[in-house]
């Protein structure tokens, strides 16, 4: 077994251990013996049973697939655009979701449990469609990222305009939603995110050689028989669906897609297959533990998960800049 395979197996084991350990964290004290008996046979205490199966397991599983999904989306976008700073958030996906959520909040007072994620999802897709449309009109697919940044600011300004004149309660809801949280997730959310994730992973596995060919430039990839524009569009579509689904249920969780692939490249390499598997595993471990911090660091309150990922992400980013300065 070579070094990369060993690392990936080690990370897989860490994902399972992290998920198990994360279930024991929370306001109610549940020790590992009780947890194991609940998982393998049946719970002695019915309250513990409810907490484990209906609160903690869904939450840990959603953290797992959301971490995987955000990290994979970042990795795919970075490789297909050859830009190490590409991130699903830069393509307007979150500001689109924010606009969708805002409109749903302002126009619908109730029924928000279904309407909010749906509106956020539609908003995110809407944003990506505009970005692709602009890039098509300009006939410059390599400028997707710049178009994304512009669209992102445009949608955010519309959202802020609506919120500024909107009803304060609705505004509050949207702002808290944008900070990201796994507090309200259910098992059904896990199934939806996991299905999109499986489709994304299968597609990337199928096309991994094509994506790799892009790493030495569009011209080189085209000479190897890759339809560059079509491939880039397909990958953007997959990343958009993946991120939009996650953002719809969990709100804005930033920096995961940017940060995780950077770490993975140092550990296992830059080609797509290794990068995707590594990003999925480290993304899962990262978000599981960030969610543990979010729900257990303050005594009677939760910290929105997006605040923690952004804080860690920005520090991490500065650290990378500092380190690359030291190397150069």
């Amino acid at each position: 077994m070579n070094k990369v395979t060993t690392i990936l197996w080690g990370l897989s084991a860490l994902v399972i251990l992290s998920a198990m350990a994360a279930i024991t964290f929370g306001p109610a004290d549940i020790d590992s013996a009780e947890l194991i008996s609940c998982l393998v046979s049946s719970c002695q205490n019915p309250i513990v049973n409810v907490i484990i199966w209906q609160v903690r397991i869904p939450r840990v599983l959603v953290a797992l697939v959301a971490g995987m999904g955000l990290a994979i989306a970042g990795a795919i976008l970075q490789n297909t655009t050859r830009n190490p700073l590409a991130d699903p958030y830069l393509f307007g996906i979150v500001s689109g979701a924010g606009l969708g959520a805002t409109i749903a909040n302002i126009t619908l007072a109730d029924n928000l449990t279904i309407a909010l994620p749906l509106a956020a999802f539609l908003g995110a897709l809407f944003a990506v469609i505009i970005v692709v449309f602009i890039a098509k009109v300009l006939q410059r697919m390599e400028q997707l990222l710049l178009a994304g940044v512009a669209v992102s600011f445009m949608l955010a300004s519309i959202t802020q305009f609506i919120l500024y004149f909107g009803e304060p309660f609705a505004t509050n809801r949207v702002i808290f939603w944008l900070m990201g949280s796994l507090a309200r997730v259910e098992m059904s959310n896990f199934y939806v995110i996991a299905s999109v994730l499986v489709v994304a992973i299968i597609t990337v596995f199928a096309l991994h050689r094509q994506i790799d060919a892009l790493l030495l430039g569009d011209e080189s990839a085209a000479s190897l028989g890759v339809d560059v524009d079509k491939l880039r569009l397909l990958m953007l579509g997959i990343c958009a669906a993946l991120t939009a689904t996650i953002v719809a249920y969990c709100g804005g969780i930033g920096f995961v897609g940017l940060m995780i692939p950077h770490i993975v490249r140092q550990l296992v390499g830059v080609t797509t297959l290794k990068l995707i598997i590594g990003s999925a595993l480290i993304g899962a471990i990262f978000l599981i533990w960030v969610d543990v911090i979010a729900r257990s660091s303050l005594p009677h309150a939760e910290i929105p998960i997006g605040i923690i990922t952004s804080a860690l992400g920005s520090i991490f980013f500065l650290f990378i800049m500092y380190r690359s300065r030291a190397i150069n």
Partner: protein, 276 residues
């Protein structure tokens, strides 16, 4: 020698300018062809048409035909074209730290199906190709850290893994110093496959190509052996400078040199560019 490529009446017209005008030539198996000419003569455009990059031949501005093995190149899929042509570009670096192995694996792409992984046979092919270009030790080296000459050799090795019949090189020696220029061209010459390359340095072209095609302002001026093409009068007209021919004592190859009209002096009048 059997005919591989047949280019006939190829023209590429954009408003107010003919990028290529009525180009006709055939390429036989095993030939090493150098395309020469001044900047803007249409050398790289010709390469783009031959390989139908971005489906350029389907564009309304392009007329004429390119046939590969007696079949119009427009009827080949992009994958089939990649199985026939391998391209080595001028500039190849990646923002990510690709290893030589990663770059070599790209050459497998035209022969692979979706989901496929690398077999032992693939790895053997990669090692063999690297050995042919003298870089078998470099398999795990970072591609970006290689010298320009080594990068070109890796890309030529990638073309070997690609197992295509025609190797296309666009200015393969541009960023290389004298040693690597000769090393790369000698390597290309020894591979025993059909090669079409654009070359700026006429003396290198003379030394390493069996056949030269001289382009100027989109037109094919001359097509033949270095002796037939490197004629001082012809070159003076195309490049706009007086030209002199000699035979290199060591290699026996034709060498040409250009000079300013009343030369030796730094203050001599520079002639106007022939394009203007």
């Amino acid at each position: 020698m059997s005919t591989l490529l047949n280019i006939s009446q190829l023209s590429w017209q954009v408003p107010n300018k003919a990028i290529l005008h009525n180009i006709n030539f055939t390429v036989r198996k095993g030939e090493v062809i150098g395309i020469i000419g001044p900047n803007g003569a249409g050398k790289t455009s010709l390469l783009r048409c031959i390989t139908n990059q971005n489906n350029i031949l389907a564009s309304a501005n392009v007329t004429g035909s390119v046939q590969l093995k007696n079949r119009a190149i427009t009827r080949y899929s992009t994958k089939e074209i990649a199985q026939h042509f391998a391209l080595v570009m001028q500039k190849n670096d990646s923002i990510f730290a690709l290893s030589v192995q990663d770059v070599m694996k790209m050459g497998l792409l035209p022969h692979k199906t979706l989901f496929s992984l690398d077999s032992d046979h693939d790895k053997a092919q990669i090692n063999l190709a690297l050995k042919k270009v003298g870089l078998e030790q470099a398999l795990h080296t970072n591609f970006n850290q290689l010298s320009g000459g080594e990068q070109q050799r890796v890309l030529i090795a990638r073309a070997l893994v690609q197992a295509s019949q025609i190797l296309i090189l666009d200015e393969p020696t541009t960023h290389l110093d004298v040693y690597y220029q000769h090393q790369v061209l000698q390597l290309v010459n020894k591979l025993n496959i059909t090669v079409i390359m654009t070359v700026h340095d006429l003396n290198l072209a003379s030394l390493y190509c069996q056949r030269l095609i001289l382009l100027n302002q989109g037109q094919l001026i001359c097509d033949g052996s270095p002796e037939e093409v490197l004629v001082p009068k012809q070159l003076s007209q195309v490049f706009g400078l007086p030209c002199q021919k000699s035979i290199d004592e060591m290699t026996g190859a034709i060498q040409v040199s250009f000079y300013l009209p009343d030369s030796h002096g730094k203050n001599s009048q520079f002639p106007e560019s022939p394009d203007e």
